[in-house]
């Protein structure tokens, strides 16, 4: 996975996190994914993935992960 762009990496990471929490319980997965990202990702990484969704709709992002990212928007 060398030389991937940062967005590719963030999507990959979000999907990886999604895979784990979906295996625990699909119903709670988006919430748990969001919690994990909030807990471990620096704000600029969170902003970048939100911006990625805003720019192009979030291709490549697993639905649960995408749903999680949506909840990370600053209110």
């Amino acid at each position: 996975m060398s030389s991937h762009s940062s967005n590719d990496k963030l999507i990959y990471m979000a999907n990886q996190i999604g895979t784990f929490f979906k295996a625990q319980d699909t119903a709670t997965a988006p919430e748990k994914i969001a919690e994990h990202i909030k807990k471990f990702w620096d704000p600029r990484m969170r902003q970048a993935i939100i911006a990625y969704i805003d720019a192009g709709g979030g291709a490549g992002l697993d639905p649960a992960a995408r749903q999680a990212v949506e909840t990370l928007r600053p209110r």
Partner: protein, 953 residues
């Protein structure tokens, strides 16, 4: 100045509960049943003369010097082999005993190469035998000093660190027994009989050619000076013998051995393992015992250096100038690019106090949470996995616990190479009959080594840990081997039921995963049954578990297995991560991770953050900062511009070297603090010379959560201890942190960290060491955790769905590369490559199965190109059946090999811990170094130029 004195009780301590009372020389003494008369006498204050006995070894009874008389028994039994009995009356002195001892001693003295009985003449100082001659009152040798002796094959000085002089050997067998009982290598034996008998290494080989692992146990055991450290002889030759000793803690691996540093003034003469050290109980390995010469190596940099561009040569500058530059640059970067544009990396090689200060500098002085540590790339999944299942980010046991284990499960760890002193203790238990299950792609030494053989070796394919561990759980659940009582009492039942249903699914059966893992189903079933039913089951694991895309999941699998079988919360069981570096545990405990403060408390928790804000007088950021890989990504993206790296070589040790280089190259101010111009320093603008563990005060925390003192035995050659350098930077950043001594830093840690609230240097001085949690509830620490209940309350089972890594083999890259360590070298090799340890391992080799080698036309010793999707390098092949077909293995100790050029940037889903252990590769014959290696070599020379005529001494 004096020597730390240690009493030798002659025979090991008895662990019996029952007490026995006897009379020795008219004095009553009560000792545990099973104690030898020799040891009981020592307890009563009487030292019986001895030569073949020492309390590190079982009694042997060969020297006949320790004879005593027992009322009602005939003859003169040896006190070392005779156990005490109730009402026994012992005499240790009589005219008869004195006469016999003197006669025996006289024969020994005539056999030894000494030419006088003068204890203080030259090397005679190191001949314990002469002290005994004195003790038994021998003042003359009637047979002369040049009578017939044991055969003398000549001095063996093949080992770089010690010599064996057969002329001084009296064949007491202490060395042979130390090699067997303490080290467990069985490299030594007595060959020949009677007067012809002689100590022999291997099959009459030199020490270096034999299986000897140079742990030093034989040298330590030798009472005659026949086996002696070369450094001792060298010091003696220049009339600078050791004049005092100081107890300190080894700075190599996570075992954390205690040593007595013996010094002449400020020069180390030797390092001797300390018997009261609770991690090592007087044993050592070749690294801690002998490989300390790097501290004085000519490559060590002792003056600060700077340069404007990394293509410029280095320029030596004053500390003042260097620190001012760091402060000015970091402030400039923050002004230009924002508060979050700089960060720091704490070192797992440095002390707790130093680590704590670096994260304090980042959080308090930089005003962000961009701090991480090398644990990111090794055991961060351990922290995540165990805190989510048990509630705390650490191993559950002390090392002594292994003495009570009945089944040892070893997963992705190779302790005889990477944690040798603990491995010796494990081997001792295995020789006593405990069973061993090894889960590892490679046939590590413990699979079959003298007097130890694994009951089962599960040689799984790299990257399939989660499938394997879940299959073990499947067997335990479906064959009704779960410890229901434990689970019902101690764990969350709903989570358990979910887990039970999950692991029971047919896709998780051994039969279903046999193909994925490459291990026959029956073998998996047998191993699971043994762990679940064999008595106390203890799991020990290493980086072969954590350094995967599913590293955190695998740690959870392990926790699940321990809970399901009730193997938690008492001696002999548990989940034991074998930590890599000396202070990985400590650096994690000290709040080195970007998301958490000391004691594993998230920065977003208001109460926790506020307690630090109050103490430090500064506002702290409540958002998590960047982790190491994120810092590098952000650097490439242009938002991260400056870094302070204390004692870590991320360019060599982190995966995907090209990506790391790109990140470092994109930064405007890289500050490296280290002993040597390491690989990372080629991208540095400021180099701050660091100090060694011998030059500082502080504490390290080992793999068993044991906090131990590191004591300064010499002034820092670079002028400052590392924590002082961090303080200077803080000052330059306008955030002064002032301490007179590291003990004050520990007081601050204790004040702010509930699990450390009872810890102080004073306590450590008094009791030697403690294992955290150490607080009001556990004033002397906690050897075994989760007794009665888990730290989080109820243990939590988690679902561990196996997901194959995306690093897959295919036609272009058909083999799987995994990596590891070797005994004589240590990690990136910065220390060990600068010692004589290179005689054992001068280069990294690629282990490859004969079948894979043959189809590629590769012969043993050939240069091969190792290529992956990330990069390529060359090294020489080592053909061996230790690795299965399809798997290749190498170490990563040498920068010219740069194994991490080929590793990828896949990482653990939860923690971003890199997937070092799985890389799809291809091997092909090669003529020599790749163009990458050549360019790198050239760059290496260029980037290390120092402008001043005289290089730093």
């Amino acid at each position: 100045m004096s020597f730390v004195q240690e009493l030798d009780y002659g025979t090991p301590k008895s662990k019996a509960a029952k007490s026995v009372t006897l009379t020795i020389d008219g004095k009553q003494v009560a000792v545990p049943e099973g104690t030898s008369i020799m040891r009981a006498a020592m307890d009563a204050g009487t030292e019986i003369p001895k030569l073949c006995a020492t309390d590190m070894l079982e009694a042997f009874g060969s020297c006949r010097l320790c004879l005593v008389e027992i009322e009602g028994r005939g003859g003169t039994p040896a006190s070392c082999t005779t156990p005490v009995a109730d009402g026994m009356v012992v005499r240790t002195r009589s005219e008869r005993l004195d006469r016999i001892r003197k006669g025996v001693m006289e024969l020994y003295a005539s056999d030894h190469a000494v030419t006088s009985l003068d204890r203080n003449a030259g090397e005679n100082k190191y001949v314990a035998l002469l002290a005994m001659a004195d003790a038994v009152g021998l003042d003359d040798v009637r047979y002369g000093f040049d009578g017939q002796r044991h055969p003398n094959a000549g001095i063996d000085d093949s080992n770089p660190y010690f010599v064996f002089d057969p002329a001084k050997c009296i064949v007491c067998s202490r060395c042979v027994r130390a090699c067997e009982e303490v080290q467990g290598t069985f490299a030594l034996t007595i060959s020949g009989r009677g007067f012809e008998s002689i100590v022999s290494a291997g099959m009459n080989e030199s020490f270096l050619e034999s299986e000897c692992v140079s742990c030093g146990a034989c040298v330590q055991a030798c009472p005659t000076g026949s086996l002696i450290e070369k450094s001792v002889l060298a010091a003696q030759a220049v009339d600078k013998p050791a004049d005092h000793s100081v107890v300190t803690t080894c700075a190599y691996c996570g075992v954390g051995c205690s040593f007595k540093a013996e010094l002449h003034g400020e020069e180390v003469v030797r390092m001797l393992p300390y018997k009261d050290g609770k991690a090592n109980h007087g044993h050592s390995c070749v690294k801690g015992r002998f490989a300390w010469g790097y501290a004085n190596h000519r490559d060590r940099i002792l003056k600060p250096m700077m340069r404007d561009k990394t293509t410029d040569p280095w320029r030596e500058v004053s500390w003042q100038e260097a620190i001012a530059r760091v402060g000015a640059e970091f402030k400039r970067l923050q002004d230009t690019y924002g508060k979050g544009s700089i960060g720091g990396i704490t070192s797992s090689r440095c002390t707790d106090e130093e680590t704590f200060l670096v994260q304090k500098l980042v959080r308090g002085g930089f005003g962000n949470n961009n701090v991480d540590t090398c644990a990111r790339v090794c055991h961060s999944p351990t922290g995540y996995g165990l805190s989510n299942t048990f509630g705390t980010s650490a191993g559950t046991q002390d090392f002594d616990s292994v003495e009570h284990a009945d089944v040892v499960v070893l997963i992705g760890a190779n302790p005889t190479d990477a944690h040798p002193v603990f491995a010796s203790r494990m081997k001792k238990r295995l020789r006593q009959g405990a069973k061993l299950i090894v889960i590892d792609p490679r046939a590590i030494d413990l699979v079959r080594t003298p007097h130890v053989a694994a009951a089962y070796h599960l040689p799984l394919l790299p990257g399939t840990n989660v499938a394997m561990l879940t299959a073990l759980a499947h067997v335990i659940v479906t064959e009704a081997l779960v410890n229901e009582a434990f689970v019902r009492e101690r764990c969350e039942i709903d989570a358990f039921e979910d887990w039970k249903a999950f692991v029971s699914e047919p896709k998780n059966s051994p039969e279903a995963v046999a193909k994925t893992t490459g291990v026959p189903a029956e073998l998996i079933r047998k191993a699971a049954r043994l762990y679940a039913t064999g008595g106390n089951g203890a799991i020990y694991y290493g980086l072969g578990v954590s350094e995967h895309s599913q590293g955190s999941t695998a740690v959870m699998c392990i926790a699940n297995l321990a809970m399901a079988t009730g193997n938690i919360g008492r001696p002999g069981v548990g989940v034991n991560p074998l930590r890599g570096q000396n202070n990985v545990q400590g650096s994690c405990d000290m709040g080195s991770f970007p998301h958490e403060l000391s004691g594993y408390r998230h920065v977003a928790t208001d109460a926790v953050r506020e307690s630090f804000e109050k103490d430090w007088g500064v506002r702290l950021d409540k958002e998590p900062g960047l982790r190491i890989p994120n810092m590098l990504d952000a650097a490439v993206d242009g938002t991260f511009k400056g870094i302070y790296i204390q004692g870590e070589d991320i360019l060599q040790s982190d995966p995907d070297t090209k990506h790391v280089s790109a990140g470092l190259a994109a930064m405007e101010c890289v500050v490296v603090q280290d002993l040597f111009l390491n690989e990372t320093a080629r991208y540095a603008h400021v180099f701050l010379p660091g100090s060694t563990f011998l030059e500082k005060d502080g504490t390290f925390i080992n793999a068993e959560r044991r906090i131990q003192l590191v004591r300064k035995v010499m002034e820092p050659k670079n002028g400052y201890q590392d924590w002082q350098i961090t303080c200077m930077i803080a000052e330059a950043m306008g955030y002064p942190m002032r301490y007179d001594h590291p003990s004050e830093i520990m007081d601050e840690i204790a004040r702010l960290t509930p699990t450390f609230s009872g810890v102080s240097f004073k306590l450590l001085e008094e009791v030697g060491s403690v294992q955290w949690p150490c607080n009001e509830k556990a004033p002397l620490g906690t050897p075994v955790m989760h007794i009665g209940s888990f730290v989080r309350g109820k243990g939590r089972f988690l679902i561990t769905e196996y997901v194959a890594t995306d690093e897959k083999v295919g036609p272009r890259f058909p083999l799987l590369l995994t990596t590891g360590r070797i005994l004589s070298q240590y990690n990136v090799g910065a220390q060990t490559r600068r010692t004589d340890n290179v005689v054992w391992h001068a280069e990294d080799r690629l282990e490859i199965h004969p079948h894979d080698a043959e189809v590629r036309g590769v012969k043993d010793g050939d240069w091969v190109k190792l290529a992956s999707r990330a990069g390529e390098t060359t090294l020489r092949a080592l053909i061996t059946e230790r690795v299965a077909p399809g798997v290749v293995y190498t170490t990563f100790h040498h920068p010219d090999t740069q194994a991490n050029v080929v590793t990828t940037d896949f990482s653990d889903w939860a923690t971003n811990c890199p997937e070092y252990k799985v890389t799809a590769v291809q091997i092909s014959p090669s003529n020599g170094p790749t163009s990458w290696q050549e360019t790198y070599e050239e760059f290496s020379r260029e980037s290390r130029r120092i402008a001043s005529v005289v290089a730093a001494e």
